[in-house]
């Protein structure tokens, strides 16, 4: 018996076993944009969301994870290859099978808006989740823009335009945008494309707060908003019926600042949108009872095999190297600068000494 895996929503007239949930493909990019060791909590935020999303079924090929700095293998980390999200080092969110697509200097505005390699192949049936964490402005201040690596920034207008481009090219069906920074609500103020829902950890003029410091690692481990978001997601499983209103309300009353949400552009009622539409995916399994014949690989040209024995190359052939002739460089005609220089020299010469010397040339 053989079976095949199909990740797109397709026809349901095959022999299937067990309950299968048909959901559209889901593509969540997780992005962290700040550098330096004291921004450890941003990495922990992003990795926690990455973990939840993977746990709920989304494969690595559908996730773009961008981390602007390396915390796990940073020399300041007392426990290398780990990133903890709870104090007393309870839970390692880095794990053993993380795949980071863009890291270090590759996290730039350009790679975020128009990635040249490692991009998501989403289409108009895909639901996209975007989670951004970092710092806006100059570390608690700044309205309407988000810092990338302390040297670049992206404004809320650019983000809105990028989403509109995606909508025009039919690259998404519905998009959920979550941002955990100070004054996060300013980032989604300018969105104008349809089917966008946005959640932010704080309103304009408010700061987003970090949650727990750890004395051994020496920095704060998580931000408050993401902490409560994750507590909520831990209770969600792939068959859960929790919807967006639950998500929005859970985070509202527990934290001290007021998170914002923007659902006007969303066509469906948020109460009818399942959390698993964005955070999880279930893949359809097709089981067949036929055998499949695999053709064995053809052995390469056994008829015309070389008869002479092959040899390895000498690793340091001293005699050959000493007598190596220098490579014959191709001759290029002289460059414009050289030509101009020679023309100038000739002109000055003939100007000083008169034109009669020309007859010596011709």
């Amino acid at each position: 018996m053989a079976f095949s895996l199909d990740t797109n929503c397709g026809l349901l007239n095959h022999n299937i076993i067990g309950p299968i949930y048909c959901t559209s493909t889901i593509f969540p990019p997780d992005i962290l944009i700040t550098q330096f060791w004291f921004n450890y909590r941003h990495v922990a935020n992003t990795l926690s969301v990455y973990r939840s999303v993977k746990r709920l079924g989304i494969p690595d090929s559908h996730i773009v994870l961008m981390l602007a700095d390396d915390m796990a293998c940073n020399y300041r980390n007392p426990k290398p290859a780990t990133v903890f999200s709870h104090k007393n080092m309870e839970f390692n969110v880095y794990g053993d099978d993380v795949e980071v697509d863009y890291r270090g200097y590759e996290v730039t505005v350009e790679n975020f808006l128009t990635p040249r390699s490692k991009r998501l192949l989403s289409d108009d049936r895909s639901n996209i989740l975007i989670y951004l964490t970092g710092q806006t402005g100059n570390s608690h201040g700044g309205n309407g823009f988000l810092k990338f690596q302390d040297s670049e920034e992206i404004s809320n207008m650019e983000l809105a335009d990028a989403f509109e481009q995606m909508w025009q090219k039919r690259r998404y069906n519905e998009l959920l945008f979550i941002i955990d920074t100070c004054q996060g609500a300013s980032m989604y103020e300018r969105f104008y494309s349809p089917n966008l829902m946005a959640l932010a950890s704080s309103q304009v003029g408010e700061d987003s707060l970090s949650h727990q410091p750890d004395l051994a690692i020496g920095v704060h481990l998580m931000d408050k908003y993401t902490f409560y978001l994750l507590e909520f997601l831990e209770e969600v499983h792939p068959a859960s019926q929790a919807n967006m209103n639950d998500l929005v309300s859970v985070c509202a009353h527990r934290v001290s600042v007021s998170p914002g949400h923007h659902t006007d552009l969303f066509q469906r009622n948020p109460g009818s949108v399942l959390i698993t539409d964005f955070f999880g995916s279930v893949r359809k399994v097709e089981i067949t009872k036929d055998t499949i014949n695999l053709t064995s690989s053809v052995k390469s040209g056994s008829g015309d095999m070389q008869i002479e024995s092959l040899t390895y190359v000498d690793q340091l052939p001293v005699a050959e190297i000493i007598h190596q002739k220098p490579k014959q460089k191709d001759w290029h005609p002289p460059d414009g600068f050289i030509l101009g220089l020679w023309t100038l020299i000739l002109l000055v010469f003939f100007q000083t000494y008169g034109i009669k010397h020309l007859k010596h040339i011709f």
Binding site: A81, D96, V318, I321
Partner: protein, 559 residues
């Protein structure tokens, strides 16, 4: 479990070598080799059925017509003076060198695409490799596989000293193994322990090799190697007692079912009578191999035999030290490199190579690749041994082109016996354009390691015959003659500070200019174009009424 399909043409071998080091640290070297008799480069039909060889690499080889590929990711620096020579050397950061097939017409284009594809496969930032840090060595890095022609136009070498290695690079590396990380020796590869070490290096080497002893046909060999050195104090808690569980937090439970051979070798050369350390479980199987110019004795644990695992179905090797080991034999070849000078304008690069052989001199090939922003003055290049000038027998220098090409300097130097050779060259630091600085320019800029390739005289005769049963660690570098062995030593990478501009200046200039323009020009314009009129003060109400009556009467008005 799985039977060998009759007529299958690929095989997989795995081995682990544990070498206790004199400083109390322990060196573990994993090698996983897949040998496949096929031809990726034939045009008649594409290879489509992959069994043990990973499909992602097979497709890369055929698409880019790659003849040989060597890529390594290293965290930490190999301390030759304390640890001896590694089985497979590698420089800190990422290193990639590739030999293309001579049918390729656009080598640079293939190289660019290959680096992008590899950066996706290994989750690394290899896409930062471009023409500004790629060189074409003219004599170093000869192919390690079969072949006749060695036209160096088809070789490309690049190194990224700043590249970080972490779990996200180990994960795709483990996925290339036939057994993944589920069975065999790869269950020991847990990232929490591997990265908490003094040195960690993982590499992938693909090359064509002889299929059998007669060497009449080629086979493709994929070797995945992982070298790790655990520190006595951070991982060993100060006690000179090592076990598999202490090193990897796992024990071995079975061999990989797809492997034809799965062995663990423990180096007991320094412990012939058992007076230095005690190895348990004891095994009667001993094997001798000549590796790195020395005859070493190994205890062999063959994991394909079920009795290895005992009643608990797990194998945990334990090494307990009893005595103190003496001093280590100095390695014959050793190199160092540092930057001298002061200030942010000029400096000097010093490369020091030590030949510790008491009476034999041997040649070394030194390859230096310096980025374009350190402008080398080659007229100041000096090579001195024993305080006398030592003229290299071969020099190849390719100057840098700003923003296009780095410097490449290759020299063949004869090292006198028992001496120290110093190569110095002065340089000047360039000022980059302000957009070319990294987001953290005060960290400094890296210069890749120098590579010293040498044929070092061997103390025992090397084995030039190729046998199928040779352990993997001794068959990596092909041996051509008995009296010497080939070794490659990497120096430290350098970190230099470039003069950094003040990045707040554009903001300051804009503020100042706008203020001057607004205040200065604004007031000037007003002064020039404004006309002044005298304004009559308004009269009180009584006088205004009086003026009204006077106007009616026709009498002159009040002031």
């Amino acid at each position: 479990c799985c039977q060998r399909h009759p007529g299958s043409v690929d095989q997989f071998q795995e081995e682990l070598v544990i070498r206790p080091l004199h400083s109390g640290d322990i060196y573990a070297s994993f090698q996983f080799r897949t040998l496949w008799d096929t031809d990726f480069l034939q045009e008649r039909q594409k290879v489509s059925h992959y069994r043990l060889f990973p499909k992602s690499l097979g497709q890369v080889l055929s698409k880019f017509s790659v003849r040989e590929l060597h890529i390594s990711f290293t965290q930490g620096f190999w301390r030759t003076m304390q640890w001896g020579q590694p089985f497979i050397p590698s420089p800190p950061g990422a290193e990639l060198w590739v030999w293309f097939h001579d049918t390729v017409s656009d080598v640079d284009g293939n190289w660019k695409e290959l680096t992008n594809v590899l950066s996706g496969i290994f989750c690394a930032s290899l896409n930062f490799i471009d023409l500004t840090n790629t060189v074409q060595p003219s004599a170093s890095f000869k192919p390690l596989g079969l072949g006749n022609a060695t036209d160096h136009r088809f070789l490309r070498y690049a190194t990224l000293p700043r590249e970080i290695v972490c779990t996200e690079n180990l994960t795709p590396w483990k996925k290339l193994l036939p057994c993944g990380s589920k069975a065999g020796l790869s269950v020991l590869l847990k990232s929490e322990k591997l990265f908490h070490s003094s040195f960690h290096s993982q590499a992938v080497h693909i090359r064509p090799v002889c299929q059998d002893e007669q060497c009449t046909s080629k086979a493709w060999e994929l070797r995945q190697t992982l070298n790790v050195v655990f520190d006595l104090y951070t991982s060993g808690q100060g006690k000179k007692e090592w076990s598999l569980f202490k090193m990897f937090s796992r024990t071995l439970t079975e061999a990989c079912p797809l492997a034809t051979s799965s062995k663990v070798y423990v180096d007991i050369t320094d412990n012939p009578e058992g007076e230095l350390f005690e190895l348990s479980p004891a095994t009667p199987l001993l094997s001798q191999a000549v590796v790195l110019g020395d005859r070493r004795t190994y205890s062999v644990f063959d994991l394909t035999r079920a009795e290895m695992f005992g009643q608990l179905r797990s194998l945990n090797l334990l090494l307990r030290w009893k005595g103190d080991s003496g001093d280590m034999l100095r390695p014959l070849l050793h190199a160092e490199r540092y930057v001298a000078g002061f200030g942010l304008q000029t400096g000097e690069i010093h490369t020091v190579i030590y030949n510790n052989h008491p009476y034999r001199a041997f040649p070394v090939l030194l390859m230096d690749s310096v980025p374009w922003y350190l402008q080398l003055y080659i007229h100041t290049l000096t090579v001195t041994s024993k305080s006398r000038d030592n003229k290299p027998s071969y020099i190849h220098y390719q100057p840098a082109k700003d923003r296009h090409r780095p410097h490449l300097l290759e020299m063949l130097i004869q090292l006198p016996p028992h001496s120290m050779t110093e190569v110095t060259v002065q340089f000047e630091r360039a000022l980059l354009k302000w957009t070319e600085y990294t987001p953290d320019p005060n960290h400094g800029f890296y210069v890749g390691s120098s590579v010293v390739s040498a044929l070092v005289p061997s103390m025992v005769a090397m084995n030039t015959n190729f046998t199928q049963d040779q352990p993997l660690f001794s068959s990596f570098v092909p041996v051509k003659e008995e009296s010497s062995y080939f070794v490659r030593v990497y120096t430290e990478p350098l970190l230099v500070n470039l003069p950094t501009p003040d990045f707040s200046m554009p903001y300051n200039v804009i503020c100042l200019t706008c203020t001057v323009v607004a205040v200065g020009y604004g007031s000037f314009y007003n002064l020039l174009t404004r006309t002044f009129q005298v304004d009559e003060p308004s009269l009180p109400l009584a006088k205004r009424l009086a003026n009204l009556i006077r106007r009616i009467r026709g009498v002159p008005l009040l002031a």
